[in-house]
Every structure is written in structure tokens, then in C-alpha cells.
């Protein structure tokens, strides 16, 4: 702790003696009330997820971290290489299923509601990535699907509860 003094204490102690302690008695009662109502439990919560105690499941994204290297995904996905259509709106179901499978395996906390994620991954353009779907929060946000050539497509999004940026490259 910084090397400093408290200037009120000695004066009060000198002049009103033990009666000054009553100030602290009252103050600690206030402390107890604040602690009781505001201090939340964070035990058993991974650091990345503590935000949900404060902000709910809509927790704001922290500075994104890369979730996995591109090349890992590249290698995994190119095994199932499928020629892709230009539009990301019509991703082949097989590809989506595969993507979901890899997502589910990669993220420890990821529990995709399969139908909704499917819809999300295959149907939406970036501008449509609203945070609610049928009134319930979806697992991902800020989804960006980019179709750069006929050979490959990239999918970038933020996983909601872990706030990780996940980048997928599909060949």
C-alpha cells in the first residue's frame, strides 16, 4: 500500500476518544450492506465468462482473441473440399453441418442449438445479424460471411459467451 497517512483519524481520536469508534461501527454496518447487495460470487466461473454475472448472456465482447489458427481449420476442412456456390446464402447443408461439428468440438463451452445455428450460419448476411432470434439469444454474433472467389469462403464471428473471435476458412 502507498506510504501515506490518514489525517482525520488522529485528530478525531484525540478529541472524542472512544466515541470516535462509534463512527466506524456505523460505517462497517454500511459496508456490510454494500457487500451483501453488490458483491457477487465469481467462484467456478472462467475469467472470460465472469462478464455474464454483470451483463447477462449478452455480455459485451472483450478484445477478441483468435480462437484457432486458420491453417488448422484449413487442413480439417479441405479434406471435405466441396466446390462452393458464389452466394453465402446457399451454403450446402453438408458444409454447415461440418462447420458446426468442428465448432462444437473446438469450443468447450459451445452448446449450439443446432437448428438455429444452422439457420444463422447459412441464412444471414452481416447486416441481419441481430442479437435476437425468436426472442432468444443466439450463440453467435457479428457473423461475417465472405465469399471471395468460387473456391473458398470465410466465416468470422464472435462466440457469445466466450467472446472469442472464430475464423473459419472453407475451401
Amino acid at each position: 500500500m502507498p506510504n501515506s497517512n490518514q489525517y482525520v483519524n488522529p485528530i478525531a481520536l484525540k478529541h472524542i476518544g472512544w466515541k470516535y469508534y462509534i463512527v466506524y461501527d456505523v460505517w462497517i454496518v454500511i459496508e456490510l450492506i454494500v457487500v451483501y447487495f453488490f458483491y457477487i460470487e465469481t467462484r467456478y466461473t472462467p475469467l472470460e465468462e465472469i462478464a455474464k454475472h454483470f451483463d447477462g448472456e449478452v455480455s459485451r465482447v472483450q478484445k477478441p482473441q483468435m480462437f484457432c489458427t486458420t491453417l488448422t481449420f484449413y487442413r480439417m476442412l479441405s479434406l471435405e473440399a466441396t466446390p462452393l456456390p458464389r452466394s453465402p446464402r446457399s451454403l450446402p447443408p453438408r458444409l454447415v453441418a461440418l462447420t458446426l461439428l468442428i465448432l462444437a468440438r473446438s469450443a468447450r463451452t459451445l452448446r449450439p442449438r443446432s437448428t438455429r445455428c444452422y439457420q444463422y450460419l447459412s441464412g444471414l448476411r452481416p447486416s441481419e445479424t441481430s442479437s435476437k432470434s425468436n426472442g432468444r439469444m443466439v450463440a453467435y454474433k457479428h457473423l461475417v460471411i465472405t465469399c471471395n472467389s468460387k473456391h473458398w469462403i470465410s466465416i468470422t464471428f464472435v462466440h457469445r459467451s466466450t467472446n472469442l473471435v472464430i475464423f473459419l476458412y472453407v475451401s
Binding site: Y39, T42, H151
Partner: protein, 226 residues
């Protein structure tokens, strides 16, 4: 130093400043012998672009960020109170003005005062160190609650005993104050010394962690100055 000029600019920097074409050149040069159409280069470029775009969306964090959302205001209450309570709960009395307390309960011998203070500091180390091992077992909230309740109880007894000594000259009450100081510190160290920084840091998300910690320490210093 003079060779720094030969190092190509970081493509991440270039993209962050809107020079996508230049970044493309750099990546092509470094990773594909200048082939701008190489798949690897295209892929890297896209990856960097997407990540930076996402990052920039989330990095709108001024100081007002701390007040904007309900969650952050909740954090703020915790941080400010942590800073204040950790210094301003009566422990400052003992830390800086112990001799005045001893004088007021009839322990005027400076040697005795020194020995008691020494024992108190040793107890502090032991309790604060032991407490570390219980943070994950017991949880933060119970530690804070038990510590603060204990502090309240001991401080009330401390007040009563001190009053008895002053009013009636009761020597036993004076000694009881010393015992209460020790007990008070056991409770204080159960939470308020060890969890101060740990709890503050963990409740703050990365984007506002530095700012939040600054405010907490500001509160500590204000409390110490008063």
C-alpha cells in the same frame, strides 16, 4: 536501427489504417514470393481484415464506458467500495495510530506497544497467506461477508471495552481491546487484503480493466489521504 527501414510495414497495421492494397503486397512478398493471387495470401488478408474489423467495433471504450451499462455501473460500485472499505474500516487506526489507541487504554510503555504491534503483523501475514488458499474453496462472497460481519462484531466490542476503560478505568476492558484488535485483524485479512486486487481484476472485462483498476486504486489513495 538503420536496418529498421528495410523491414516491411506490418500488414495488420496497414489494414487497420485502411491501406489494404499495400498490406496485400506485403503479404504476397513475405508469404508467396510476390504472388498476389496465392490462396494463402488471400486467406491471410481476409483473416486480418475480419479480425480488425471486429476489434474496431468493440474498441469504443472511453471513460464513459464505465457508466454506460448497468453491468458496468454495478462493477463501479464494487470497485469504488473495495478501494474505500479496504482502507477505511478502522484498520487505518491500527496501521498508523496504534500508539494513540494503546495510550488511550493505559498501555503506555513503548516497548510493550512495539511487541504487540510485532505480533499483530506476524498474525497478519499468517492469516492473509492462509486466506489465499480458501478463495476458490469457500468463494469470494462468503469471505467478504464473514470478514465484514466479524469486523463489525469485534469493532463493537472494541468500542464498548474502550468506553469502559475510559469511563470506569477497568483494566480488564483495556486488555480486551488488545484482544479485539487481534481478532479484528483476523477477520479483516480474511478478505480485504488479499481479495482487493484479485477480485477487482477478475470482475473487469479486458476492455475496461486498466481503467477500472485505476479507479479502485484512486479510491484507496483517497481513503488513505482523508
Amino acid at each position: 536501427m538503420s536496418f529498421v527501414w528495410f523491414v516491411p510495414e506490418s500488414p495488420r497495421f496497414l489494414i487497420a489504417h485502411g491501406k489494404v492494397e499495400k498490406a496485400h503486397d506485403v503479404l504476397a512478398k513475405v508469404h508467396a514470393n510476390g504472388d498476389r493471387d496465392s490462396e494463402v495470401v488471400m486467406l491471410e488478408l481476409q483473416e486480418i481484415k475480419d479480425t480488425i474489423k471486429l476489434e474496431q467495433e468493440f474498441e469504443s471504450n472511453g471513460w464513459m464506458e464505465l457508466f454506460k451499462t448497468k453491468g458496468n455501473r454495478h462493477r463501479l460500485v464494487i470497485l469504488l467500495s473495495l478501494g474505500l472499505f479496504s482502507q477505511w474500516s478502522g484498520n487505518g487506526l491500527v496501521s498508523y495510530y496504534l500508539h494513540q489507541i494503546f495510550d488511550s487504554i493505559g498501555i503506555t510503555d513503548s516497548n510493550t506497544q512495539l511487541v504487540i504491534n510485532g505480533c499483530l503483523q506476524i498474525l497478519n501475514i499468517i492469516v492473509a497467506t492462509t486466506q489465499c488458499f480458501f478463495v476458490d474453496k469457500v468463494g469470494r462472497r462468503p469471505l467478504f461477508l464473514v470478514a465484514t460481519s466479524g469486523m463489525l462484531t469485534t469493532f463493537v466490542v472494541w468500542t464498548i471495552c474502550s468506553a469502559r476503560y475510559t469511563l470506569n478505568g477497568d483494566k480488564g476492558a483495556g486488555n480486551a481491546v488488545v484482544a479485539m484488535i487481534f481478532l479484528y485483524y483476523v477477520f479483516y485479512n480474511m478478505a480485504w487484503s488479499g481479495l482487493l486486487v484479485g477480485y477487482s481484476a477478475e470482475i473487469l472485462p479486458y476492455s475496461i480493466r486498466a481503467k477500472g483498476m485505476t479507479l479502485m486504486f484512486l479510491m484507496v489513495d483517497i481513503a488513505l489521504f482523508l
